[in-house]
Subunit: 320 residues, 2 copies
Amino acid sequence: MSILITGVAGFVGCNLASELIAKGHVVFGVDNLCRGRREHLASVIDHPRFAFVEVDMADLPAYRAAFQAFHAREPITEVWHMAANSDIPAGVHDANVDLRDTFMTTFNTLELMKAANVPVMAFASSSAIYGDLGCPLVEDIGPLLPISNYGAMKLASEAAISAACESHLERAFIFRFPNVIGVPATHGVMLDFVRKLAATPRRLDVLGNGTQQKGYLHVEELIDAMLFIRGNADEKVALFNIGAGDEGVTVRFIAEETVRECSPQAQIAYGEGNKGWVGDVPRFVYSIDKLRALGWKPTLGSAQAVQKAVRQIVAQEALK
Amino acid sequence: MSILITGVAGFVGCNLASELIAKGHVVFGVDNLCRGRREHLASVIDHPRFAFVEVDMADLPAYRAAFQAFHAREPITEVWHMAANSDIPAGVHDANVDLRDTFMTTFNTLELMKAANVPVMAFASSSAIYGDLGCPLVEDIGPLLPISNYGAMKLASEAAISAACESHLERAFIFRFPNVIGVPATHGVMLDFVRKLAATPRRLDVLGNGTQQKGYLHVEELIDAMLFIRGNADEKVALFNIGAGDEGVTVRFIAEETVRECSPQAQIAYGEGNKGWVGDVPRFVYSIDKLRALGWKPTLGSAQAVQKAVRQIVAQEALK
């Protein structure tokens, strides 16, 4: 297959590119390199079955030119749309950030797929589309009332993809991501903690009281799950929560693991409240029963995924 | 209160304006007059508590100027956002139509409300956000997989409003409209039938086989329901289906009623299939149990609403 990955230089995109190339596919990638980084592509950039163009997908004429050039080289059979704003607080502060980088990237991709008759879209959605429902998050629950513009524009993207499946798309795969961890880490609580401890090895300040609890999935498992769904689901719009399937771990656990790994003498100082910032959902149970029923299950729980990622992030930062 | 109605010259907007003025409120209105019509405002345009500006809400600087001028005259306390593309097939053909007129009108309205600290949004959403679920449509069901860009951009709007309630809005009222009928009719199956019969009084061609069944609510009842929810719901994001609460009537019933009312000698010729066009949901049960529990119920069923609307539309067309 010939697959376009959007946001290919981001955390998930670059891992996905490596995996799809290893499986023998032709992989094209686009990224505006605002949050993604060229060095994330180091392991694939010279591969004969990989090509990359730096382009801002919000700039439709430029994006169209890149898309058409790839399509002329090898007709694109599917698009894995991973590009999005990954800075949730930035989108809460200014809704235009997620409008542009989380929603219009989807909208423009669908327009180009329609024009080029590319039949299959796989999309990185998010648990943030559910909002703060206060009950287990399963795929058939509603109403969907996201509390961040990031979640809102992921839901808007799902909706646009769903409508496209009624007109020009043959199939879509919508993956509702959990908190995904691993390397290359570009943001997130673990990287923050590692960097804070590098700056002040004897003290770690934590936003919130540390009781905030979330599930975490390692990026390697996320990719395995996405490919499993791609290969096994048979719905026209195949929509799945992906996650560790457990109750998750607290911020306190992550802080303690990070301290243990890279600065055992540090004191941890907690703030107040169990919300880190506006748009952050304090605690939820994220059901993966539908994905389990399809036949996939994670090999790591949230705690093990955190431990693995902390080690990897410490190693990543040590190399800088 | 001082209320801005967007899409004020449209079918619902102009009826809402009359009602809110009658209740003693100051009413400001905007409309780009693409689908709305100036003559729909005839009964309110000279009222001292009404003011209208023709502006395209997709043009943010122009919309901002109109919004700020109203706000300076009498601080806006809430916005009733009724503006949207109402031509669903046009949006299926070109996704940009609903992006611009159904979603960006919402996005821009939220931006202006944020800047001016207007705390309350009431929004005309749609049963189209549910897609073709094949089971009774209740507010807490999912996944939401709209099959038209209209439905997709209504869902995108709900999502953006929900996120805004976590940052700058105090409250939002999301009304999921059913098929709404009455006058002034600008589009829809009844107006189509009346006009077809005016052109060919002995024959009525019906798209589809006539078995397509939907619930219909009269616009007067819709407005009554919205004001009831506005006055009685206490959720921060109050989201309600509004409808007739019955199983609806078939296209065949509407065709027969229209023929009986305006051209009894006409033969009705049906097409094939039970979908009229891409994006049209063939049949669904639209639950209003949540609204009933709040204390509102319709006085007309779908059949009576259709009969009333057909009579009104025949009278409307006769005046032209």
